[in-house]
Symmetry: C2
Subunit: 486 residues, 2 copies
Amino acid sequence: MPAPRPRLLLSAFLMNTPNHILGGHWRRPEAQQHRFNELSLWTGLARQLEDAKFDALFFADVAGLYGQYDGGWQHHVGKGLQVPANDPLVLVSALAGATEDIGLALTSSIIQAEPFQFARQLSTLDHLTDGRVGWNIVTSVLENAHRNFGAAELERHDERYAWAEEYAEAVYALWEGSWDDDAVLADKASGRYADPAKVRRINHRGERYSIDGPHLVEPSPQRTPFLFQAGSSPRGRAFAGRHAEATFIFAPSPSSAARSSALVREQAVAAGRQAEDVKVFAGLSFVVGSTEDEVRRKQESLEASLDLEYILAHIGGGLGVDLGGHDLDARLDDLGAGSVQTEGTQGHLETLRRLSPDGNPSLREIARARAFGQQIAGTPEQIADRLEQWQDAGIDGVNVMNQVLPDSYTDFIEGLLPELRRRGLAQTEYAPGTLREKVFGRGARLEPSHPAAAFRGRGADLDSPAVPAGLAATGPAAAAPEGVNA
Amino acid sequence: MPAPRPRLLLSAFLMNTPNHILGGHWRRPEAQQHRFNELSLWTGLARQLEDAKFDALFFADVAGLYGQYDGGWQHHVGKGLQVPANDPLVLVSALAGATEDIGLALTSSIIQAEPFQFARQLSTLDHLTDGRVGWNIVTSVLENAHRNFGAAELERHDERYAWAEEYAEAVYALWEGSWDDDAVLADKASGRYADPAKVRRINHRGERYSIDGPHLVEPSPQRTPFLFQAGSSPRGRAFAGRHAEATFIFAPSPSSAARSSALVREQAVAAGRQAEDVKVFAGLSFVVGSTEDEVRRKQESLEASLDLEYILAHIGGGLGVDLGGHDLDARLDDLGAGSVQTEGTQGHLETLRRLSPDGNPSLREIARARAFGQQIAGTPEQIADRLEQWQDAGIDGVNVMNQVLPDSYTDFIEGLLPELRRRGLAQTEYAPGTLREKVFGRGARLEPSHPAAAFRGRGADLDSPAVPAGLAATGPAAAAPEGVNA
């Protein structure tokens, strides 16, 4: 008898906007994503997913318009292509009290909030949710996002990751290094709230940030929130290997997923962590039917409401290439090279070329590959068989993309989940504790091998009035007198 | 028969921290503010205040340590003097779904969030609460707060207000100017989500910020959240007169309150608004008893748990003066002038001098004046009589300070509110609509005379690829090509 399979981790891939990945479906009569401004849409969905014992709601985000299509952003506004895009931190906070067990993960870019503010907000939320918060670290590839935060243009890719490293160091110092575990006394008898000898400034002095501290929030259940990261470039994978507890991949097949997972896990090991310290989620969408006939009818219906131009605009926005203004049957080589805007684009274009045997796919083929390449359609048994193949390829979980809110999740829960549970592939109860404990089955805090752990108990270093060794005093406060509060 | 009195507006003055203003009471056996990290404390309180038809929860905030006492901040950490201080935006967002009518106001300093991020977060929250959000605009007087956000030192007072003016302009442009009222179509039949001709970038180019836009959130019920501001300096009052829909004053008597209110209203009129466009809240605490004997017993008990050194440290932190290390009977003139740290402090010290006939009060007198100067103790009838005097002095409402959570509000609601209602001084039902509609009894949007209204419908201005006339192109993006997305 074979060993029982581990369960699959399940998260719902969401965004507070009318269209996320699979655009156009909001127009369907039953679709409710046009109510994305209303809290009741999200509390209903969160409770439904919690009843189904999903591990997490995962909110994607953008901090600006998703690039250009046909020479501008009018197309995006007209179609609701991730605009409007409401703030996920506010939404996730609003879901804290509506849920008890499900993880609440949000995307926040290093460009949109200063480390001191962001660390404080996530710590507050980790308290209010009893340790259910996750953070998806992103660097923002969208030029408009950078121009909403004072930058003249998009930072170069590698510099964004250097920025992300400093950002991570700063928030880790606040989360892990500023308050000792036993700093809070909250002792009514003695009147001592905390022991000041166990609370320290961080005195971060870096290229971009100068932060005194101390952290304004006492240690929350997880301290550092559960860390997601989805880098797919070599530099991004190195970052994910070093920092991420979970990574998302978008792969067209189990074998492709196996390669991507192996690359991230290699980076984790290279950074001194264990390969299994990074959980790999595959982004997948589903069409579930009780018969093959029903599956086919649903597929046809969904194909009719899918908007291929939306998909194409989304692909181009992510690449920094304007793919608009062409017939969908135009081929990649016909577009000219003038619209290539960012470094790294050429590599991504190579990926698109592989979609066609002759290296020159049509725009329609490109859009269809994105829309259907990560889709699994079938009866519950057929889908479960396929998911076992993904699991055998090294995938730990699925980030479930939706076509329709809430029906895509209702179909998944009512149609597919019973079969997954029958096979032991889906949990029937939550494990106790924080999101980190639920996912890894170990402690609420990051492992000692994680880079954040290096900031723990940095007593004298952090409290010292002098600039700590190894941190260059290049920030704007470098010339200021130190030790004022020490 | 005299005309019926208008009702008093009522807000609860709160902070997500173990001690807010009246420090030390957290040590009382019945006090629950040591549970400030737990959502249930706040949802319970919010529902209790909503059942009582309070107009708003008002959350104060700091973005750093509250100055120094006795040479450092160890005292603050030891006593829990506004540290820990959790993020109010996250908490208020978590209360959105737990309440239906009560206003949710939060303090956010211009130093802690970039205008684009902050405007987006408040718009999201205004959607999720159906228009119940208020923003208390502050500039931060705390040096540590500025040093947590990259600044070497506290900005000079007047420069902070110039900064606040630019900040307000940027968020107003996003809230009022970027999306027309009829921009959103959300039309499933045509597939048009919004009309791009009615959505515009803001192209803000100022001294501190460069922001392209457009705003990422479609118009929320109030657009600009209900605006609180509590400036008490001449520059601060001018800012409040120009921008605030409600202001808080801390006055020791109705006659003092009358002077302060008149000054703010004068500034409103000078800015082209109506005197009654600014609602004035007085910060007051209460000791309610059914008999004078009970009042006296409660007063004695509360005096025993009040921490005068806490009060003193809080006063000094706000002034930028270290008042620690002295006997409470030491007098102001004995302290020496070496500890004066910020401009404006001298003016505040003059205010303290007026607490004693000889101009040289003791530290104890200073602390007691703060603790008890805004306290009204008595039977319900006695307190209601006093509140009528405050109302006759021009006060529109009360920001109710607490000694003990939740008991100070329970006492207010159970002991005092029936008498206030009997006299028509407190509402028994909520008016329909947004916070702004509930408070002013008119529209959900700011009046045309408010400076934010100037940003409405600035079509071509905002959309123009050229830098709009009248805005200097001094921001970091000034050299960047314009019109990329236009």
